[in-house]
């Protein structure tokens, strides 16, 4: 049987002339997951070119491709890979084998408004015959060409550059006995890839598309189609193209979609084999021998996520004391209770537990992934809490590793220091909670924390974290405007970006607040964005932050500060933030509330001034 079209093509004759593109794309993406065919991808991509720019529920991106091979056959599968992550892409391709001229003002022009620019230097076309007998300066020649190209392209586009590295190519499949020779192409290729990774690991504008890994995982012998390369300069077999789409989609999703912040796991038959309450701690499968070795792998996987800043939580029907004792006493456990940001180990329903965990950790349900081996529990959470990404843990331990490999939405493009600090600061929250109970009132509690704030103006080195906060902050966010790193960099030029770091007796929270202002006339300043990470709630630091922003606006000659609140389903808590800080309401509609703060009077204190229980350090405020 031949699979049918993804869904019936939307017909131009639909009643009222409009189509439900969102439903069409969702169905098509699901269908392509079940039966990925090249014809299906082509049809979907062709039909999609008629879709409007904006389709509800899908993020729109524009992707350019510079290349020295025929990439046109890839594009339908690149489109499908992105669509399966909720991203609708438009593509533009550069002239064949033309790279550098797009980087110079007197050369060729890239289209405006590209979000991503893929740079695909195919080894066969870039290095060519030299692969058979590589010259001694090959690495240097390649890496330096790439460096110059990227510098030039960065000047001519704001797009993030996605640079493919070099995959194992047909030459190394049939070249005999070269692996002992460090000068051979396969070994030089690895050296070039490593050099590119090292060169760009901390450059927020460049991401490496790991073609090497994608091809190796798929199988190099199957990934290439020699006939297509020789006749049409298109190196890849059609079967590999969906993998390429997934590799690209992983990068764009990690860059643009809100990341999952917490993994919630069950215990019995998930963290270990067997049931603690019935089998007893001595009979559980966890350790070096199968099947315990499979569960051990899973715990190592979670430990790795933890090290990259993902929070871990446990949600289990068990006796709390038994589980905690097993966590800390068992010599075979990889995870310890201190690795958990929170847990609910009780006999209540798991959906309520998940809700409570979200509240305790101050994160949205849509930032959680729940892993449970029970189909019933998974279904319960799916139906009651549809925002949570639910993943059914395999019943056969042999399937655990592929399960880990298939988990989506945990990728990050970079691990910032703040990611690492977040995990530590979540743990310190417990100690802080104890202190809150001991202090007589909130202000005494806040004072006892010995909070130190560092507010930096135009912190250009931290554009990446500033962008990340705009992307991730949902609750305490007055306008919820999301900015890419490039957009933040533009804000440094046309406005003022304030960022706030917080430390207290227990931990360093890293950067937890961002405010962006822009002058709208010589005497007016508008607050474009104002946000505070959920980790810093409940300490009143937002008032101090706003105070510094207003004070700085006044120092710059402003007499009026304007601000607004744009409601979202998540930011109700800040609806009255500006009025509470002394702003007057100038417009009050459901879709927007506007506020104004007059600075005219010489004696007027900015909000919270003089009443700070905080030690505030200002960096970059000199107006010299």
């Amino acid at each position: 049987m031949t699979p049918e079209a993804p869904t019936p093509s939307p017909s131009p004759a639909d009643s009222e002339g409009s189509r439900d593109w969102a439903a069409y794309f969702r169905n098509a993406a699901d269908h392509m997951r079940e039966s990925p065919t090249f014809a299906g991808a082509n049809e979907l991509y062709r039909v999609a070119t008629e879709a409007p720019d904006y389709v509800a529920g899908f993020l729109s991106v524009r992707i350019g491709i510079l290349r020295n091979v025929t990439v046109e056959p890839w594009i339908p599968d690149l489109f499908v890979g992105l669509l399966q992550r909720g991203i609708k892409a438009e593509f533009w391709t550069g002239e064949h084998d033309v790279f550098e001229p797009y980087g110079y003002a007197d050369g060729l022009r890239l289209p405006g408004a590209l979000d991503y620019l893929m740079v695909h230097l195919d080894a066969s076309a870039t290095i060519g015959d030299a692969r058979y007998d590589p010259p001694s300066d090959l690495e240097h020649a390649i890496v330096s060409r790439v460096e110059h190209l990227i510098v030039a392209l960065s000047e001519s586009t704001y797009a993030k550059i996605i640079l493919s590295n070099f995959g194992p190519d047909p030459v190394e499949l049939y070249a005999p006995h070269v692996h002992q020779d460090p000068g051979s192409w396969p070994n030089r290729r690895r050296a070039i890839n490593l050099a590119l990774t090292e060169r760009y690991s901390s450059d927020a504008r460049v991401v490496i598309l790991d073609l090497d890994r994608a091809i190796s995982a798929f199988g190099a012998e199957r990934a290439y189609d020699a006939r297509m390369y020789l006749t049409a300069r298109s190196p890849f077999a059609v079967g590999f193209l969906p993998r390429l789409g997934q590799a690209l989609a992983t990068i764009v999703a990690a860059d643009r979609l809100p990341p999952k912040k917490c993994v919630v796991v069950d215990c019995d038959n998930t963290l270990w084999g067997g049931v603690l309450g019935e089998d007893g701690p001595g009979a559980l499968a966890i350790g070096e021998a199968y099947p315990g070795s499979a569960y051990r792998q899973f715990q190592l996987f979670l430990k790795g996520l933890h090290a990259r800043g993902v929070l871990l939580a446990v949600n289990s029907k068990n006796n709390e004391a038994d589980v905690l004792e097993f966590f800390d006493r068992s010599p075979d456990m990889i995870l310890r209770a201190t690795d958990l940001a929170a847990y609910r180990i009780n006999w209540k329903d798991k959906a309520s537990n998940v809700r409570e965990l979200a509240a305790e950790l101050n994160i949205g349900l849509d930032a959680m992934i729940l892993i449970d081996d029970s189909a019933v529990e998974c279904e319960l959470i799916r139906s009651l809490l549809p925002e949570v990404q639910v993943e059914r843990f395999p019943s056969d331990p042999i399937d655990i590793e592929p399960f880990c490999a298939s988990l989506r939405n945990l990728e990050r493009l970079s691990v910032t220091d703040d990611d690492l600090k977040r995990a530590a600061s979540m743990r310190a929250n417990g100690a802080r909670e104890q202190l809150r109970l001991a202090a007589s009132d909130l202000s005494a509690f806040i004072e006892s924390l010995e909070i130190r704030l560092t507010i930096t103006k135009q912190d250009r080195d931290r554009a990446e974290r500033i962008s990340q906060l705009t992307q991730r902050t949902n609750q305490f966010n007055l306008t919820t405007r999301r900015y890419t790193v490039q957009e933040v960099q533009r804000w440094f030029e046309r406005g003022t970006v304030y960022s706030m770091r917080m430390r207290d007796r227990f931990s360093d929270y890293g950067m937890i607040g961002v405010a962006i202002t822009k002058p709208t006339s010589s005497q007016h300043v508008a607050i474009d964005s104002f946000m505070l990470s959920c980790r810093a709630f409940g300490r009143g630091v937002e008032g101090a932050f706003l105070g510094v922003v207003i004070e700085d606006a006044r120092a710059g000659g402003a007499t009026v500060v304007r601000a607004c609140y744009l409601p979202t389903p998540k930011n109700q808590m800040v609806r009255d933030f500006f009025p509470e800080q002394g702003f007057a309401v100038t417009e009050d509609r459901d879709s927007i509330r506007r506020f104004e703060y007059a600075l005219g009077a010489i004696t007027l204190s900015p909000p919270s001034e003089g009443a700070d229980p905080y030690d505030i350090e200002r960096i970059g405020f000199d107006r010299a």
């Binding site: 049987m1 031949t2 079209a5 093509s9 065919t37 090249f38 014809a39 299906g40 082509n42 049809e43 062709r46 025929t70 046109e72 056959p73 339908p76 006939r227 297509m228 020789l230 006749t231 049409a232 298109s234 059609v238 079967g239």
Partner: protein, 78 residues
């Protein structure tokens, strides 16, 4: 139950080239159909190969420029 090759081919022409439903695909050739350019040609050949689990030689691929020609090449493999 397998469908006749011409039915499967006809559907691939609709899906890959965007030939309007109802149009007689057996009449279509690279010269007569605007969306069948050299890039679409690569995609069409790859889609046909995947769907019918066959492989054309480079010489065949360059001659496969009409519905009739392609159907003939497929038939020669049956």
């Amino acid at each position: 139950l397998t469908e006749p090759d011409d039915v499967v081919l006809g559907r691939l022409f609709v899906r890959v080239l965007g030939v309007p439903d109802g149009r007689d695909v057996t009449e279509i050739s690279m010269d007569s159909h605007a969306s069948w350019d050299s890039m679409a040609h690569i995609n069409l050949i790859l889609a046909i190969e995947q769907e019918l689990r066959i492989s054309f030689t480079p010489e065949e691929a360059s001659l496969a420029t009409s519905f009739g020609a392609i159907l003939g090449m497929v038939a020669a493999r049956r």
